[in-house]
Symmetry: D2
Subunit: 138 residues, 4 copies
């Protein structure tokens, strides 16, 4: 439980008004939250640039009839099984599945894994979300 | 099961060589797969621009001690429960959780939901992956 | 000349420390500037989403020997000449030129122009910078 | 003048039809150009990742009344004057200017310069376009 810091920011009324137009509600509490949110986004970007320990989510859409995609995906995951936190599988249509893999580890390792997945034959689409294990602000 | 089309692409040897340098292995099969993959990525971008029916994954990192984030996240999900396919919860540290929500529906609706999540107080980071329910290529 | 607004933002000491680590110097003045900068970036993103009057820069790299790229680029620019503020041409190598076009107008119109440029045969690369005519903060 | 390579790509008719829907016109020539264009985009991304010699365009919007932005921008440019190919200045409104700087050099150096510009007080917005000095395909 860290203590609270109060900082004072100045800006033109024009920018302040336009900031409020970005907020839902526009009350002061939202303003602080909006600014904290932007700071945290920049911190997460830097974690990935600096190859720190991070969290990443990989969303894969594929045809489960297609040859042996499933087997190859499982094989790839086992190669870095220490880094896989969870895998969720949903059925989209008669043919298509989505598989969402939550991984933690060094940024470069997670990106490399996502690239290996993307290059598998039979995969329709791979999407990638960089996130964070960031220090708690309790 | 749709039939196969063979198309012929010309390019300078220089570009062809550099294409091969992008591939792991550089065999012809990879080349076709690499090009199909790029085409599919463009198609998915267009689905989102044209507000079609899509798949999206939202990754949320938050402190589960923090007030009532969990309750509010659950509430938000119930409001669009028809669009939520699955939610996976993992424990990152003593304080932090990650929750990954897989949603399908109109692109604009999923983006609106992700924005509502992002603006919740107590959330450390939200990451978003646009994906597809794309037609199968069997 | 609009008047100054002072707003007070609270955050955990941990987040405040990490914010300072993002700054060069870390003095309070930089902090305000950093936060104002993030707000302005979000406002510019919204201008483009809402198809407002904006500024955009298109960077084109092409081989000036190649057929008639130059003529076609000139033709495309004349079609929206009211929107082109300036075009700068630099010689990169014996074969390659870069042309940078500064355009103002509705976001959708500038994007459409950039797409038309990108699809010209003989162009090596097109890059696009969305910017703003944003209200002055004097 | 390098020679031409013809490569053969197979895909499902469904993907082929959807590829055509991405093209203006849909003739075969466009298809080749569209695919070459995607390959070149990937190559440019890699040049920036691998910190190669590249081209970058920085678009800056600022209030020219504001203190001494102009002087500081000039100073920053002189520090890397060997890398600046051209600077174009346009007058947007009574108060606002846009300045577009075309730079060549190592990717990391150009990004560092763009960051230094962004952090100047008095600048409304900075946008950045990564491009290429890429080998010619004549």
């Amino acid at each position: 439980m860290s203590d609270l810091v109060r900082m004072s920011i100045t800006m033109d009324r024009d920018l302040s008004d336009r900031l409020d137009s970005l907020l839902e509600g526009g009350r002061n509490e939202n303003r602080s939250e909006f600014i904290r949110d932007m700071i945290r986004c920049r911190l997460v970007e830097r974690e990935w640039e600096q190859d720190q320990e991070v969290l990443g989510t990989i969303t894969i859409v594929y045809d489960h009839h297609s040859s042996d995609v499933n087997r190859r995906l499982t094989h790839l995951q086992h190669e870095i099984h220490d880094n896989i936190l969870a895998t969720t599988h949903v059925h989209l249509t008669h043919e298509l599945c989505a598989e969402v893999i939550i991984a933690r580890g060094k940024a470069s390792g997670i990106k490399k894994f996502a690239d290996a997945v993307r290059q598998q034959k039979g995969i329709l689409h791979t999407a990638f979300s960089p996130s964070t294990l960031g220090k708690v602000e309790s």
